[in-house]
């Protein structure tokens, strides 16, 4: 019918956001894309071919994906139980956990880097803890290692995993878990068959947030691991800032963008499949 096809006036409320994104994000993105395929004056995919045929590029892509996946997994591992606790907590306990999650967001990455130096160096807190537990036989340095990078990045991004999962979990009717219990489901069975599937939309959002941030982080690798270790994002930065190679920079930027979008869209599609009826 005609009336239903007409644009909903409420959509006009999205106009400021659309304009803003178009100007500060869409236009530069198109320029970037243009620069990556318009090197010699005629459009060509040659820059991508050149980039992808260089073995070093594959090391960089591998670094990017490995770190992003590890950071996302670590955030999920830490974030899910926290979100669950947060959704069950009441009153003061809940407020306290929320503050503990949100407050660190207001501390800049550079400030955090100083803390990490203390935590991750050879005589740092982690090393001493592992020695104390008898897990390590001699002190080890985590600073300037991939493990240190993953730990530090997860520390920055974990709120972006917790909050979306929490916001979904708190809407799940607590009676559902009780109903499952009275039907004979053990706590573990209830978790895997009720709480987890129902929180899938929150997990997908959290994974999309953390993965895209971890794949494109620039400052944190610079502070925690340095030049020896390159990701698509750090390589993009170096190309523009130090190597003055805009061709390479825009190519790596586009590759990074494609990878991130593919993972985000893919995980959303996967959750739809797994979520079935919901």
């Amino acid at each position: 019918m005609n009336a239903s096809r007409r644009l909903d006036p409420v959509l006009l409320l999205a106009l400021p956001a659309v304009l803003y994104l178009a100007i500060v994000y869409g236009v530069p993105l198109l320029m970037l894309l243009g620069r990556s395929i318009l090197s010699g004056g005629t459009p060509s995919l040659a820059p991508f071919g050149a980039f992808l045929s260089d073995p070093f590029s594959w090391t960089v892509i591998g670094n990017t994906l490995r770190i992003a996946v590890l950071v996302t997994l670590l955030c999920l591992l830490i974030g899910y139980p926290t979100a669950l606790a947060l959704s069950r907590a009441r009153g003061a306990a809940q407020a306290l956990i929320l503050v503990a999650i949100i407050l660190p967001l207001s501390v800049g990455v550079v400030v955090k880097a100083f803390a990490w130096q203390i935590v991750l160096r050879r005589d740092g807190v982690v090393s001493q803890l592992m020695m104390g537990l008898g897990l390590w036989s001699e002190p080890q340095r985590l600073l300037f290692t991939e493990a240190g990078l993953v730990i530090g990045a997860a520390n920055v991004f974990v709120p972006f995993m917790i909050l979306p999962i929490y916001s979904v979990l708190k809407l799940v009717d607590p009676r559902l878990g009780e109903a499952a219990a009275t039907l004979g489901a053990s706590p573990l069975y209830r978790f895997f068959k009720v709480a987890l599937p129902l929180s899938l939309p929150g997990i997908v959002t959290g994974v999309a947030f953390v993965f895209s941030m971890a794949a494109s982080m620039y400052v944190i690798p610079n502070l925690l691991i340095g030049d020896r270790f390159q990701t698509l994002a750090t390589l993009t930065g170096r190309s523009f800032l130090f190597m003055r190679n805009e061709q390479l920079g825009s190519t790596t930027a586009v590759v990074l963008l494609v990878l991130t979008v593919a993972v985000v869209v893919g995980s959303a599609a996967l959750s739809k499949r797994l979520g079935g009826a919901s």
């Binding site: 109903a179 499952a180 219990a181 009275t182 039907l183 706590p187 009720v194 599937p197 079935g276 009826a277």
Partner: protein, 356 residues
């Protein structure tokens, strides 16, 4: 043997300063259908949650089928619950909801599908097996919730106001269907309601709850005819209550001075005791054939199909309720009519405390 299939002894629960359950005792036979009837906030849901294991009592014990289950977690109790909000799993289909309990208990996969089909057919939802829960009406969700709870063959089924969200017509159908279904499956059940008609029609016995206690546990007929407390009298069935003071007591019959005149009833009270005198509306006849006789002006008549309900003004500001097959000829608002009832139809209670 079957006596005490379920037994709750001295169950007590407080939340902060509020005593919600104040020493509840309840014993049920195997296969029995007992309703918990009481006003909002009297502790019905709390008692149910304690029996289901969703809440620990502060004091008291719960035993089922000869086993003390007071400290057993819910998933080891074999007690199914139909929640007021149904609590169906929104991410599962109708059939998967019903299969949930069987899967959780590790039933052989070959047995699950036939059992699910059987119970969906029993609640007349066989045609909806593959539907999403969100595409069901309230009554249909309710049926699925009952099938899901029964398919695991629980020792005990608990239903917390399962029909309160349904309209009257559907509710009556569901009451009959549920009763038939439970008889077929042979399940012992506790049914929570604050609707006295529902309790009277469905139950083998009714537990009248008031302020965290069970005031009377008896058959519907006995509760209606001989309510044990003024609360049970007022809560179950329509009733007239006249306050008064005993001035004579002999041979188990007390004579009570009321604003409507002297009235008599069975009871043992000392002269001077304040009492509440009660009588059911259908026990009052519009003549002076009974021993307790009064006359009062008609205030209002409500036609109810097969019967007429008459409201009389009783001094000083009370109301007398009478039910008769038909309105006496020439009676209108203001007409003063004679009425009477037998001494044996009179109920005499100690006057309830004022502040109560």
């Amino acid at each position: 043997m079957s006596q005490g299939f379920l037994s709750v002894a001295g169950a007590a629960k407080t939340f902060g300063a509020a005593t919600v359950l104040d020493g509840v005792d309840l014993a049920m036979d195997r296969g029995e259908f007992v309703s918990l009837l009481g006003p909002s906030g009297c502790g019905k849901t709390t008692l149910l949650r304690i029996v289901a294991g969703l809440m620990r009592p502060d004091q008291g014990r719960v035993a089922l089928d000869g086993q003390d289950i007071t400290r057993l977690p819910p998933h080891k109790r074999d007690v199914s619950v139909v929640f007021q909000s149904y609590a169906l799993f929104p991410h599962l289909s109708v059939a998967e909801n019903v299969a949930f309990g069987l899967r959780a208990r590790g039933a052989p996969s070959g047995e699950i599908a036939p059992a699910v089909k059987r119970f969906l057919d029993l609640v007349q939802m066989g045609a909806y097996a593959e539907r999403s829960i969100k595409a069901l009406s309230g009554g249909q969700q309710q049926r699925v919730a009952v099938a899901r709870a029964l398919v695991v063959g629980p020792k005990l089924l608990l239903l917390d106001e399962p029909f309160s969200a349904l309209d009257r017509k559907l509710r009556e159908t569901m009451q009959i269907d549920l009763k038939r279904l439970l008889r077929e499956v042979g399940t012992t059940a506790i049914f929570v309601t604050h609707d006295q008609d529902e309790a009277l029609t469905m139950s083998d016995r009714i537990a009248v709850m008031h302020r965290g206690r069970i005031e009377q546990l008896d058959t519907p007929a006995a509760i209606y005819a001989r309510p044990a407390t003024p609360f049970a009298f007022g809560f179950v069935g329509l009733a007239t209550g006249l306050p008064g003071t005993v001035y004579d007591s002999a041979n188990g019959i007390v004579t009570v001075a009321t604003q409507a005149g002297p009235l008599r009833g069975p009871g043992h009270f000392l002269p001077g005791s304040p009492v509440l005198l009660g009588v059911r509306p259908e026990r009052i006849a519009l003549d002076h054939g009974g021993a307790n006789r009064i006359e009062a002006p008609l205030a209002d008549a409500a036609f109810q199909g097969a019967r007429v309900q008459l409201h009389f003004q009783a001094p000083p500001d009370g109301q007398i309720l009478v039910e008769t097959p038909s309105l006496p000829a020439a009676a209108g608002p203001g007409t003063s009519l004679k009425m009477s009832w037998a001494i044996d139809d009179t109920l005499v209670y100690p006057a309830p405390a004022e502040a109560a």
